[in-house]
Amino acid sequence: MESCNCIEPQWPAEELLMKYQYISDFFIALAYFSIPLELIYFVKKSAVFPYRWVLVQFGAFIVLCGATHLINLWTFSMHSRTVAVVMTTAKVLTAAVSCATALMLVHIIPDLLSVKTRELFLKNKAAELDREMGLIRTQEETGRHVRMLTHEIRSTLDRHTILKTTLVELGRTLALEECTLWMPTRTGLELQLSYTLRQPNPVEYTVPIQLPVINQVFSSNRAMKISPNSPVARLRPLSGKYMPGEVVAVRVPLLHLSNFQINDWPELSTRRYALMVLMLPSDSARQWHVHELELVEVVADQVAVALSHAAILEESMRARDLLMEQNVALDHARREAETAIRARNDFLAVMNHEMRTPMHAVIALSSLLQETELTPEQRLMVETILRSSNLLATLINDVLDLSRLEDGSLRLDLGSFNLHAVFKEVLNLIKPIASVKKLPVTLNLAPDLPEYAIGDEKRLMQTILNVVGNAVKFSKEGSISITAFVAKSESLRDSRAPDFFPVPSDNHFYLRVQIKDAGQGINPPDIPKLFTKFAHAQTLATKNSSGSGLGLAICKRFVNLMEGHIWIESEGLGKGCMAIFIVKLGIPENTSESKNPFLPKANHGQTTFPGLKVLVLDDNGVSRMVTKELLVHLGCDVTTASSRDECLHVVSQDHKVVCMDAGMPDGFEAAVRLHEKFTKRHERPLIVALTGNTDKVTKENCMRVGMDGVILKPVSVDKMRSVLSELLEHRVLFEAM
């Protein structure tokens, strides 16, 4: 603003210009005054404004400027000196403040500028944090998805469900267009499309396993991006117009039970993998993020674990089912076997009786026929019939014996007997036949062989007789020697009898019998067959071998029952053979009086039973009389009864023994009634049945009705004597049948 110092008439010459200047100054002043007001107003409003002092300065500067311009208004016309002075003062002040402000601004403006940059920086930071937040949230989401997916997968043990759930959940979590699983085929050369997400029924579609892209995926456990054009990714024609979505593939290890050795972990080379392919939706411009790939890898691992669990479970279920099946089959087989055995036993029990009866008839009638008047040819025929039927009877007995032996129902009938006598008897029986064949038979009994022994006499004799008989049968020349001695422990353990473990003890001894012959001999390889049923060793002279084939088998069973061992040695055909057996026999406590070897045990015999009250029950008059006389001869006081009622009527506590005929129609009932009548055991007389039946059934029936003993008819005096003494001593007697 220039102030002109000349005093000149201003108005009429530049009046217009003056007017405009006048107005402008006025407005400038106005503006200059209002700006600080605005500033103050807004600063008062805002809380933060650090530069108040600057504001004051600035305000002052502006006010003064405004004042200056305002005062300028008066300088257009004639003005006094005061106005000029004020004007000058104002200008001076204005100058001072403006300079001060200018100087101040130099300091302040960089600060203000830096505020701006800081603001920008903070904004950027905020944006970044926002982004990161978003990322974390996404990760958290996917983490939750993985947990849920894992939970889903691990909550089932069915492999189908596992795989299906995996695909479904993955598809949902990652919003996939398609998710497929390729499993290796049995041959391991191809991958077959097994499961898909969107396609309802996967078509049978295979790719060879040796594709480079597949190899690449299998070689690492990371999820890898693969080209959408690779065969595993192109399932159907492109649906989108532009770009197919990105595809990622990951391997899923398939673990098998066989992969797990105890000491080492599964070898990588033997692992099989399945391939999981995930496709993003096409035309979405979405990209695979790292966290999504990680998610896929984690899922693939979990799937592998879940699948292996499912496989193990399947295996164990299958094994269990198999075992159950086998169990059922075994049970069935066992029951069938039991039924078969029962059927066989029933059959045998019936055949026992049925076979013996006709045989008896045949033998009896043939022997009767023999006694009649016959022509020589007829006699010959009858003799042949007799011989054959005797043989048949023996065979039947043998078979029945053997079957009883086999099912373990045969028990040895132990008793005290004269051992020497047994051998002598065998010798007597065999001598006639041997002398016909001109074979001398010698018997050597060791001097320390006890005279009496405890064992099954009948069966021991049967065994010795069978073996000696074989020796005689199969010898055409030479001599036969029978040696018997007590086996000492060294000779007991024989290398030829490896299963035989004899245990010598105080009241037993082992009898060893050796029968040597110089006959046909046996081929050593055939020896084991000898003891098997019905197996003949086919020798040259087969027409002489008329053995039933059962004899040695039965002998072996008997010897085994006697806790012994039997074997045969031969050096070969034509060199004879030696049969050896060892059996365990008991030593009797007191060598009592020698008795007829075929009577049952009776170590201490009462010779008479004076005053013993006996009741004889028999409906057959003759039998009754005979039995009565027997008992009377032994000194008993005998009462007789011919019927059950009479018996029950007559019997009393004084009667100590009741002898009844087992063949009586109501004999058994009488026994039952006797039991009912005398409830206390010591009051009841001992009931003994006399029977002509040799079978087990009769004996069982007798035992069932409560008989104390069974005696086989015919009964001799001695037999009755020994029976009575045995009975009275032990209160029970069941004679061998």
Binding site: A361, T627, E629, H633
Partner: protein, 152 residues
């Protein structure tokens, strides 16, 4: 004494074939053993009883077998009785016939039964004759002052 020993020898010679031919068996010996001073006629008594029984049974069986419809059960029970009696006294041959007889009864074979019955009769007659001779001999021996030797 000569007479006695002669008689005894006669008895022995007579008895031996009886055993050999099976008319009597060991059981008969046992019966003879039972005979002593307390029961001197035991054997004869038993034998007489047997013959009585036998006759009765044979008659019954003959009657039963003559019927139009034969009651084999009845016949069988008679045979059973006869078998029991004959074995009690040791009449071996009769016992054997009874065994065969039983078979025919079970088979309900009338012809067979009749044949057996005939045989029983035959045997019975023979045995009766033999034993009566025996008893006569024994009586003679006892009369001569000796005792009846038990036959082994």
């Amino acid at each position: 004494m000569d007479v006695l020993s002669q008689l005894q020898r006669q008895l022995a010679d007579f008895l031996a074939p009886l055993y050999r031919e099976g008319f009597v068996d060991d059981q008969f010996t046992q019966l003879q053993k039972l005979q002593d001073e307390s029961s001197p006629d035991f054997v004869m008594e038993v034998v007489s009883l047997f013959f009585e029984d036998c006759e009765k049974l044979v008659n019954n069986m003959a009657k039963a077998l003559e019927q139009q419809i034969v009651d084999f059960k009845q016949v069988d029970s008679h045979v059973h009785q006869l078998k029991g009696s004959s074995s009690s006294i040791g009449a071996a041959r009769i016992k054997n016939v009874c065994i065969a007889f039983k078979t025919f009864c079970e088979a309900q074979n009338r012809e067979g039964c009749l044949r057996c019955l005939q045989q029983v009769n035959h045997e019975y007659t023979q045995l009766k004759a033999n034993l009566q001779t025996l008893f006569t001999l024994e009586r003679q021996i006892v009369a001569a002052g000796g005792s009846v030797p038990a036959m082994q």
